[in-house]
């Protein structure tokens, strides 16, 4: 009996384990998942919790129940991987051996990596919504917020769901309008990138959305520290941005055990081949989803498309054959723009988001790079798709690789 060990029972780990469990013979391969607890969070829901659209009990299900019944789930904290011994140590001393290892422990926000972020104002006027606890605390803070300076900040890329901060800004604008206090709120979007939009064609589609919503942008901003006394962000080039309520996206890092195992880069991401996700150091280790260092967005959709390709490759690999399928970095994201509308973007390593129709060229029904109500409905309906199709590893009726069919590729040529 061979052993496949999956570290992390979140989006990527659960999809990979469930998908492979159907395809691998139970008499040849044992598949085990390791995670610290039983709370599988629907992370896209965190964006909606601060505004009360989702209640805390709507974003959590049992990890155990989301996994195939023939996939054992081991509860435990990972101490380290011993890649030379093909074993994983848990902090309580247990040792798990493997023939093949999948690292799918994602990334987490790390407020401890920025001076002053976890100071006196943490969870008072300094908030984040990338954790369950953070989203719950921010919901309470927003409810009490009656006006003043709301600052939305990204510490450094890459972050999970890179459009979420922008969506947060749009939703906050709508939320304050609904409460009749938008004129009392000054909103600033503070980013390390050269602007809120950096891809020319998407930027054009968004046009002056931020300006129209009265959201100021502070670009090229490298945060040095959060000054708790002044309640201000301070950058390396000494720009101060004062806030009454700060919503920051802390530095995102991979799990610390990745570093302890000598398997990570400077932010604990596992370097892998970008087409097959096999580790650059060990040929029996793969890293899937946010945990790896591929130059794609850190998003559930990427993990989904990546794992569709990975499963095909893995079956070839364990049969001693060459991995012939290549993941293209395909991502596909709904972007809430406020007022009950959303945009949809579809892109990969080579193509930036372009206008067109999705998933069927020329027909849709979704429109790419356009704000529509249908896209918003799609975003909300996605929760069902996540739990009932993606995580169980059922086939999704959309192709894993990106298609240019029906897309305005001519717009790239004209640039």
């Amino acid at each position: 009996m061979k052993k496949l060990l999956v570290l992390g029972g979140g989006t990527a780990g659960s999809m990979a384990a469930n998908n492979l469990r159907r395809k691998l013979s139970a008499s040849e391969w044992e598949i085990t998942v390791v995670d610290a607890d039983d709370n599988h969070r629907y992370q896209p829901g965190f964006l909606f919790m601060p505004f009360g659209t989702y209640k805390p009990n709507q974003v959590t299900k049992s990890r155990r129940k989301a996994l195939n019944k023939d996939v054992p789930l081991v509860y435990g904290e990972i101490d380290k991987v011993l890649p030379e011994e093909n074993a994983v140590l848990l902090t309580d001393g247990r040792r798990l051996d493997y023939d093949m290892l999948i690292i799918a422990t994602g990334v987490s926000p790390r407020p401890d990596q920025t001076d002053g972020m976890q100071g006196d104002e943490w969870r008072k006027s300094v908030h984040e919504f990338y954790t369950y606890e953070g989203a719950v605390a921010l919901a309470q803070a927003l409810e009490k917020f009656d006006g003043g300076r709301l600052v939305i900040n990204i510490v450094e890329m890459p972050i999970k769901c890179p459009v979420a901060p922008l969506e947060f800004a749009f939703l906050a604008d709508s939320y304050f309008k609904d409460r009749g206090i938008r004129n009392k709120v000054e909103m600033t979007y503070v980013t390390p990138l050269p602007g809120a939009f950096t891809k020319p064609i998407a930027a054009e589609a968004f046009g002056n959305t931020l300006e129209e919503k009265g959201i100021a942008v502070e670009p090229d901003y490298m945060l040095m520290e959060v000054d708790n006394e002044k309640k201000a962000l301070v950058s390396y080039d000494e720009r101060e941005v004062p806030f009454d309520l700060l919503v920051t996206i802390p530095l995102n890092m991979g799990a610390d055990f990745v570093a302890r195992s000598g398997l990570g880069n400077e932010i604990n991401l596992v370097p892998v081949d970008k087409f097959t996700q096999v580790s650059k150091q060990y040929d029996n280790i793969f890293a899937l989803g946010d945990a790896n260092d591929i130059p794609a967005s850190k998003a559930g959709s990427v993990a989904h498309f990546e794992i569709d390709i990975f499963v095909e490759n893995f079956l070839l690999y364990i049969a001693g054959k060459e991995m012939t399928h290549k993941f293209d970095g395909h991502a596909n994201c709904f972007i809430e723009t406020g007022g009950g509308k959303a945009m949809l973007i579809d892109f990969n390593y080579d193509y930036e988001p372009l206008p067109g129709k999705y998933p069927v060229a020329g027909i849709g029904p979704m429109s790419l790079l356009k704000q529509t109500r249908l896209n918003h409905m799609g975003k909300l309906a996605f929760k069902w798709v996540y739990w009932n199709i993606l995580i169980p590893g059922r086939p999704m009726p959309v192709p894993a690789l990106m298609s240019t069919a029906g897309k305005r590729t001519d717009l790239i040529e004209s640039k």
């Binding site: 459009v163 020319p200 490298m222 080039d237 967005s297 991502a331 892109f347 640039k415």
Partner: protein, 104 residues
């Protein structure tokens, strides 16, 4: 894509003048690009630019300021001294690489 002439050679650039073809760049070109934005290249500047070039080749993406500081060994404060105001954008420009980008 528009082209422009640097040191008598045609190179492909985007709307903002960032070079878009990795192999069209050489260190002479880098020096001219630096001069165009008022930067006189020292050894420290080259250390950063060479790291950027190698990292892009290996990773397929322009490294972030944090990565240059932790993996490239030139800390953030120093990057602001070497490439005043907008280090991320300026170092990418000189290295002939795409400016740091998000997904939209």
């Amino acid at each position: 894509m528009p082209t422009t002439t640097i040191n008598g050679r045609d190179v492909t650039v985007d709307d903002e003048g960032f070079m878009t073809v990795y192999d069209e760049w050489d260190e002479e070109t880098g020096k001219s690009l630096a001069a165009a934005i008022g930067i006189d290249m020292t050894d420290e500047h080259w250390k950063v630019v060479r790291f950027l070039r190698e990292d892009f080749k290996a990773q397929g993406a322009t490294p972030t300021i944090r990565r240059v500081s932790t993996a490239g060994g030139v800390d953030t404060k120093q990057l602001f001294t070497l490439f005043p105001k907008k280090p991320a954008k300026k170092m990418a420009y000189i290295a002939g690489l795409p400016k740091p980008a998000g997904c939209v």
